[in-house]
């Protein structure tokens, strides 16, 4: 049994969901995503026992492309993040009704399939195929089932697609060049390449375009807020919870080890840009009137910090980045879900029109509160572990980086708590706010439970991730 089975499972899930009919689709999709999660836990168990779960076989002879899937601690962590969030995201959509729901859920599972593939691929072209494949479902999810005015949504989604595709195509040229040098796309062969200084610069730059757009790093972020706002909440969760992690993961897996010298040389610029995103995102978030847009900008700030952690090229920075990727994935899904829960009841996301929910729904209030606190990295939540490690590593590089990076916590606390105050507290709202139902509660409790448990006991994740990061660092510092 190897990791290919997981991919096959998700793909069959997508196909069966498509033919299961509109009524059953959501349940079938949930079932398959749960099975996939169980299966990936089982894989983790095997992986920890030291069983070889990687898979490699020849795919195309000329150009020489292998169907190579490799699992190390980093990939396993990202795959588990994907398979754990997918059922939560599907469950979170149970309160909504979609036209053509069989297509919708099939696309969600297909996207999970593509993203899992991206995290596992150990062959450049295979990785690229999965990377692009993930773009198609999210395009249709945001386009067809999104909210707001059609023309505006269309503009936002097409902009997103063209941006990301443009970035990826330059990465493809980078891969084509690497292939002409190495004669293979295999990760290990690419790691062994001795590239000259200028070659490294161009490769690094081509990859950077793809990742900076996906993550997004300033100044490539302009697509983000609009798409997050216009996409259906499920799409926003997939984008912010998992898809942008593809960019961050790829930085660690592909960009840094293949062109380490360029990464070292441009480190101040890269960290500077990432931190600029932190400050910019935080300040813009302060002024947002739309709940979803506020969360989008807060996400921009948080991923900026993660990217900065990646580009420090230190063990702490990379480890912290991975922790924070996982923590951010969970917390942002929870926050967007809270926004959706409010929208289901009040049909608005304007912060001004909200308020006075606390007295009507105390349980929802406390769960939302915990998520807000987790997102500002309160000690005791897993986000604290991540952000603290990253900030520590930044301070090792240059204290000022840490000072500016730290604004994510200070400003974050300010805008998140202000938002919480305006949305939840105040005089009792005249409109009725029903307490969360069972499905909604399960989603919240799972997320909160995860964040608190690993906040107090982060060792399992550390043990999983640290050896893999150590290996990658060895390649970077070769």
């Amino acid at each position: 049994m190897n990791i290919t089975t997981l991919l096959i499972l998700l793909l069959t899930g997508a196909i069966i969901t498509l033919i299961s009919g509109d009524k059953l689709a959501s349940k079938v999709a949930l079932l398959f995503s749960l099975v996939a999660f169980g299966f990936s836990l089982n894989l983790l168990l095997q992986f920890n026992q030291g069983t070889n779960i990687s898979f490699i076989s020849n795919w195309i002879d000329n150009p020489k492309v292998a169907f190579a899937l490799k699992a190390d601690g980093l990939s396993m962590a990202m795959v588990l993040l994907t398979t754990a969030l997918t059922p939560l995201i599907i469950l979170s959509s149970f309160g909504n009704s979609f036209n053509n729901s069989k297509n919708f859920y099939a696309l969600v599972l297909f996207m999970a399939f593509a993203m899992t593939g991206t995290f596992l691929a150990a062959d450049g072209l295979l990785y690229y195929v999965f990377w692009e494949l993930a773009l198609i479902p999210i395009y249709f999810i945001a386009l067809i089932w999104g909210n707001g005015d059609v023309d505006e949504r269309k503009k936002a989604v097409v902009k997103f697609f063209i941006y990301t595709l443009a970035g990826s195509l330059f990465m493809l040229v980078g891969f084509a060049y690497l292939y002409s040098k190495a004669g293979s796309f295999l990760l290990e062969d690419l790691y062994k390449l001795e590239l000259s200084h200028s070659e490294q610069f161009w490769i690094f730059f081509a990859f950077f375009l793809a990742y900076a757009i996906k993550i997004p790093i300033i100044p490539f972020h302009t697509w983000q807020a609009k798409v997050y706002q216009k996409a259906p909440t499920v799409g926003t969760m997939l984008l912010s919870g998992i898809m942008l992690k593809m960019g961050l993961y790829s930085v660690i897996r592909w960009q840094l080890p293949i062109a380490p010298d360029a990464a070292k040389e441009y480190m101040p610029v890269l960290i500077g840009l990432s931190i600029a995103g932190v400050v910019y995102g935080s300040i813009v978030a302060l002024r947002q009137k739309d709940l979803k847009k506020l969360l989008a900008y807060s996400s921009l700030a948080h991923v900026g910090l993660i990217a900065a952690g990646c580009y420090t090229l230190t063990a702490d920075g990379l480890n912290g980045a991975v922790y924070q990727m996982i923590a951010h994935g969970f917390v942002i899904v929870g926050l967007f879900f809270a926004a959706e829960v409010i929208f289901r009841r009040f049909e608005t996301r304007k912060i001004k029109e909200l308020g006075g929910i606390r007295s009507q729904a105390s349980r929802f209030t406390s769960m939302f509160m915990i998520l807000v606190l987790a997102s500002v990295a309160l000690p005791g939540t897993y986000n604290f572990v991540g952000e603290f490690t990253v900030l520590y590593s930044l301070s090792q590089v240059n204290l000022w980086f840490a000072v500016f990076g730290g604004t994510t916590i200070i400003l974050g606390a300010y805008y998140m708590l202000k938002m919480f105050q305006n949305v939840m507290l105040g005089e009792t709202n005249p409109k009725v706010f029903a307490e969360v139902n069972l499905n909604e509660a399960i989603v919240f409790i799972t997320i909160i439970g995860f964040l608190l448990f690993f906040g107090l006991y982060p060792k399992p994740i550390n043990d999983l991730v640290n050896p893999a990061i150590k290996e990658i660092l060895a390649v970077i510092n070769r």
């Binding site: 195309i60 002879d61 000329n62 150009p63 053509n100 297509n103 072209l125 690229y128 195929v129 692009e132 494949l133 773009l135 198609i136 249709f140 386009l143 067809i144 059609v150 949504r153 269309k154 097409v158 697609f161 063209i162 595709l165 443009a166 195509l169 330059f170 493809l172 040229v173 084509a176 060049y177 292939y179 002409s180």
Partner: protein, 461 residues
């Protein structure tokens, strides 16, 4: 050889079928006949008789020619299968149209298997004249007449150039035979009109594949012709022409000089850019695909920069491009059959009305744009990777930028299908099952070839 004879006899049978009143059975019989021919062609595969020439050394069957012939036969099967419904109103001329399509196929096969320039010219004329007739086949439609006339005038001008070029080559070498010309071109001392002749032949072929700056006829002819003819032109004819161009370029002089490569670079970038930028502004779908075809011609020309891998890359690219074209045109014919024009508004709301057809059209457009798992992605990737290998990164970057531009117009159609509502309720797309079958089959082939590119790339090994 057997392939050519059997196709011609099938064509003659089609003409005779009128006498025996077999009109209703004509399409099934032809399709079955072509499937049999496909079998023969595949059977000949194992025998590599590249040295063995036929018709007093007029033609030779080798892997290159049988690979492309197989593709042509496949495309013709799809095109003829769609004819049954398409020419419903032209009962009296029905068998003629089928026969012309078969003769067109013989022309295409002659073009990829010639060993003598006379045969090459014969092939290209058989193909061209068939297409002129098909373009003007809607006799009472002014636009179709205009298209046929324009195509005929400019096409015969290009044929004239080719003939003139062949004469100069003959004058320089004293041979029509490709093998002899090849041997002579390796040595030195050929008179100056040899390169002039070669250039004239190549310019004529560039006209046929519609590369810029020889592309001006394309939009009008594509728009005016009956849609099925447009499908034929943009798939079969274009593919045949580009394969022939490869055969000529590699036959005339293997050692392409530095200057010639620069010209290819310019024409390739020019075609890609002009095609894509002009396509952005089109409202008529056939015009849009015409410009998109010009840009694809630019991409295919990129393959010539690395002549050692060009045959393989061209074969794969043409497979990908033609299959995507067939499935796209099947849907387009189905939707616009009973419409006055082929404007994009006709596709509004197709995603709701017939989701499968909309999905197939979307998939074909994504394939043309070069998105993975569809064969279009690997086609572009192989081109890029082999062009990078020989150091022409500038062309690859132009190709990448053009791929991004092309998203703009391909997605215009996709957006229309999925985000707009159809205006009039009484309208429904013609529900002829044959179009769906053709579209589904060619898309399935496209995806299979996309997932296992080796299926096609190994054909020439």
């Amino acid at each position: 050889m057997q392939v050519l004879i059997s196709i011609v006899s099938l064509g003659v049978f089609c003409l005779l079928a009128e006498i025996f009143n077999l009109r209703k059975l004509l399409v099934p019989i032809t399709v079955i006949g072509l499937l049999a021919v496909l079998g023969i062609s595949l059977n000949l595969w194992s025998i590599d008789n590249s040295l063995d020439t036929q018709f007093t050394s007029m033609m030779a069957t080798n892997k290159f020619s049988s690979a492309f012939s197989t593709l042509f036969i496949l495309l013709t099967i799809f095109l003829i299968a769609m004819s049954d419904d398409f020419y419903k109103e032209h009962k009296a001329k029905f068998s003629d149209f089928i026969a012309i399509k078969l003769f067109l196929l013989t022309g295409a096969i002659a073009m990829v298997s010639f060993t003598n320039l006379a045969m090459f010219f014969l092939g290209i004329e058989v193909l061209s004249i068939s297409v002129y007739i098909l373009a003007a086949s809607e006799r009472l439609n002014v636009r179709s007449n205009e298209a046929g006339m324009k195509y005929f005038l400019l096409g015969s001008f290009a044929s004239g150039l080719i003939l003139f070029g062949i004469c100069l080559v003959y004058g320089a070498t004293g041979y029509f035979d490709m093998g002899e010309i090849y041997d002579l071109s390796q040595g030195v001392g050929l008179p100056v009109w040899y390169p002039i002749g070669v250039a004239l032949v190549i310019i004529g072929m560039l006209f046929k594949i519609a590369a810029a700056p020889f592309h001006f006829w394309v939009p009008d002819v594509y728009e005016g012709s009956p849609t099925l003819t447009t499908a034929t032109m943009s798939t079969l004819v274009k593919v045949a022409a580009i394969a022939t161009l490869y055969k000529l370029v590699s036959g005339f002089s293997v050692t392409i000089g530095y200057k010639v490569e620069n010209i290819i670079v310019v024409i390739s970038i020019l075609s890609m850019t002009i095609g894509n930028v002009m396509a952005l502004r089109q409202k008529n779908l056939k015009r849009m695909l015409a410009f998109s075809g010009i840009s694809h011609a630019g991409f295919m020309l990129m393959a010539f920069l690395n002549i050692s891998t060009a045959a393989n890359n061209l074969l794969y690219y043409t497979f990908a491009y033609a299959l995507a074209g067939i499935s796209a045109f099947a849907v387009i014919i189905m939707v616009t059959k009973n419409k006055e024009n082929e404007n994009i508004e006709n596709f509004n709301g197709l995603g709701k009305m017939s989701p499968v057809m909309a999905a197939i059209l979307t998939a074909s457009l994504l394939s043309m744009a070069g998105i993975p798992i569809f064969s279009g992605f690997f086609a572009k990737f192989m081109l890029f990777s082999d062009t990078v290998k020989v150091g022409y990164i500038i062309v690859v970057i132009a190709g990448v930028i053009n791929s991004i531009i092309s998203i703009g117009y391909y997605f215009k159609l996709i957006l229309a299908m999925y985000t707009k509502d159809f205006d009039n309720n009484e309208y429904k797309p013609a529900n002829y099952y044959i179009y769906s079958v053709v579209a589904v089959l060619s898309m399935a082939l496209n995806i299979v070839v996309g997932i296992y590119p080796s299926l096609v790339t190994q054909l020439l090994k």
